[in-house]
């Protein structure tokens, strides 16, 4: 049974259709990345899954239960890390975790969760003395304290500096090794790429692409680009293949990079030429994402 199953989900606010017939599934133990520009309907979808919002139509199942009436029993199995949330400044990290642990039937120990998020040395510190990044990690610890089967992480690293983000990624990888399912929303392509087993891109309230970070939007079969610095005295038209000259580089787009590269390097070897800066690249996940979420009219 999938951890999350969404089928034909719809939600409108007044005349605005925020989510229009959206379907996807998240497997158990999977880290699932939900991507989309602002206003794509991401937050609406996640809040329906978390039980904060009601849907207009479609079926939704979270851990086998409809979140609209999952109640207390479902909330005991789910951990939620919100985008932004204040904490009682005068409490210590351990006190806050103990308070939240009391809400769950089978919680983890506060010390264990603090270790998981790398805050062990701050266990007795008042929350007001923690940095923004440390408070965010404590936020994550709160989402984990109930030992949930499914964890929602809503833009967990927004506002982090690059090294804090790397640390947060390590933590999420740690959660994955616990065998828990994670639904992650993020604006950062590198984050989605590094953490997700599967990515779903939504735009305009619809799924526009779904797949692994490697195959999203047909990325693995999209035209590859071969690029190198044109050697002295070689004209781009003398190459054995159709190429463009861009800033002193030759650029070749090909659907069959193995064959093309072979032809190109054979040609160069015959002439005893070195091709400086030779590289073969695929469109990055960010390229694919921007292409997928481009507004249709532009």
């Amino acid at each position: 049974m999938p951890a999350i199953a969404v089928e034909g989900l719809r939600k409108s606010y007044g005349a605005v259709e925020a989510v229009r017939g959206l379907s996807f599934q998240v497997g158990e133990g999977e880290v699932f990345g939900l991507l989309g520009p602002n206003g794509a309907g991401k937050t609406t979808v996640v809040e329906i899954l978390e039980g904060y919002r009601r849907r207009d139509a479609g079926s939704v199942s979270v851990l086998g239960v409809d979140p609209a009436n999952g109640g207390r029993a479902l909330r005991a199995r789910v951990g939620i890390m919100l985008q932004e949330c204040a904490m009682p400044a005068a409490f210590t990290a351990t006190e806050l975790l103990e308070m939240y642990a009391g809400y769950y039937p089978r919680p983890r120990r506060p010390g264990e969760v603090l270790e998981l998020v790398g805050l062990t040395e701050k266990a007795g510190a008042r929350i007001k003395t923690l940095s923004g990044g440390q408070q965010r990690r404590l936020d994550l610890a709160l989402a984990l304290i109930g030992d949930p089967e499914l964890i929602f992480l809503d833009e967990p690293t927004t506002g982090f500096d690059p090294s804090a983000r790397r640390d947060a990624w390590e933590i999420v990888r740690g959660i994955r090794t616990l065998g828990r399912t994670v639904l992650l929303t993020t604006h950062y392509m590198d984050e989605a790429q590094n953490l997700s087993d599967r990515i779903c891109v939504i735009a305009g309230g619809e799924v526009v692409a779904e797949g692994s970070p490697e195959t999203l939007g047909g990325r693995q079969v999209a035209a590859a680009r071969i690029r190198f610095v044109l050697p002295d005295g070689v004209d781009v038209r003398s190459l054995p293949l159709t190429a463009q000259a861009v800033d002193g580089h030759a650029l070749i787009e090909t659907a069959t990079p193995t064959r093309t590269l072979h032809e190109l390097t054979s040609w160069a070897l015959q002439r005893d030429l070195e091709l400086p800066g030779l590289e073969v690249t695929r469109p990055s996940l960010e390229d694919v994402y921007l292409e997928l979420t481009r507004p249709p009219q532009s």
Binding site: L82, P88, A90, F91
Partner: protein, 255 residues
């Protein structure tokens, strides 16, 4: 752990948060006690002819208890719940298995603890320093304070549901509560025939002030609950509860 135990624990957490925040503790306790120190001393020995010649402070102590209870319940809950709503705290709580009523019980119970301590301190200080008589009937005063406290907690929740955002919370709350307190006789006795007093009779502050006063008033010997005034408080509390149940939101409001 049973829900009732959880509710008691919530009261404990709320109390911890309250006492560790010097600002909230200061406003709840320092003002009523400071007023008693200043105006109690200034009017020591004065008598109120309009109330049958009773000592001024026999009027003023119950009035300050009313002021303190309304502050600890309505003002405090209206502000803190709006701030918690807008900063996402309520939303996070709502995402845990903690039943909403248990959370609310913690908030209301904590206000009740503060109110009780305050009533005790004011009564004791009035008795020791200003020779104010003790209430005639402890049970009657207790029921009056419980009905008043719960009603003003409900009104605090209702008000927070109507306040659009956290920035507006202190201004709107004070703009609603303070003028009504001024015309309700919680700072000084009022002419019962004044227009303002007639207006105040329609709101819950003055009826509670009168009900608490009846429990102390040395010119009578009330043995029961002053329902003749308290019913208005209860009615307002029920209206507050109705609005709170219908309109209270756990998620931040974004415009």
């Amino acid at each position: 752990m049973s829900d009732a135990t959880m509710a008691l624990r919530q009261v404990g957490y709320e109390q911890r948060a309250f006492w560790r925040n010097p600002a909230s503790a200061f406003f709840a306790f320092a003002f009523p006690l400071m007023f008693l120190g200043i105006f109690g001393t200034q009017n020591r020995g004065a008598r109120l002819e309009s109330l049958g010649g009773i000592p001024y402070n026999s009027y003023y102590v119950p009035a300050l208890i009313t002021f303190g209870v309304i502050g600890a319940c309505m003002t405090n809950i209206s502000m803190t719940m709006t701030i918690r709503r807008d900063s996402g705290v309520l939303k996070r709580v709502r995402g845990t298995p903690l039943p909403p009523w248990v959370f609310m019980a913690g908030v209301i119970g904590s206000s009740a603890v503060v109110s009780a301590i305050l009533a005790l301190l004011l009564t004791a200080a009035g008795n020791v320093f200003y020779s104010v008589n003790l209430p005639h009937h402890l049970g009657g005063l207790l029921i009056t304070l419980v009905v008043g406290g719960m009603s003003f907690c409900a009104l605090g929740l209702a008000l927070s549901a109507l306040i659009p955002n956290a920035e507006a919370a202190p201004a709107i709350t004070n703009a609603v509560v303070l003028p009504l307190l001024f015309i309700s006789g919680t700072f000084y006795p009022l002419d019962p025939n004044s227009v303002l007093t007639h207006i105040a009779n329609w709101f819950p502050m003055r009826p509670l002030a009168l009900a608490v006063f009846h429990c102390f008033d040395p010119s009578n010997d009330l043995r029961g609950v002053p329902w003749s005034d308290l019913w208005k408080v209860l009615l307002w509390g029920a209206a507050g509860l109705f609005v709170a149940v219908r309109r209270f939101q756990w998620a931040p409001r974004r415009t």
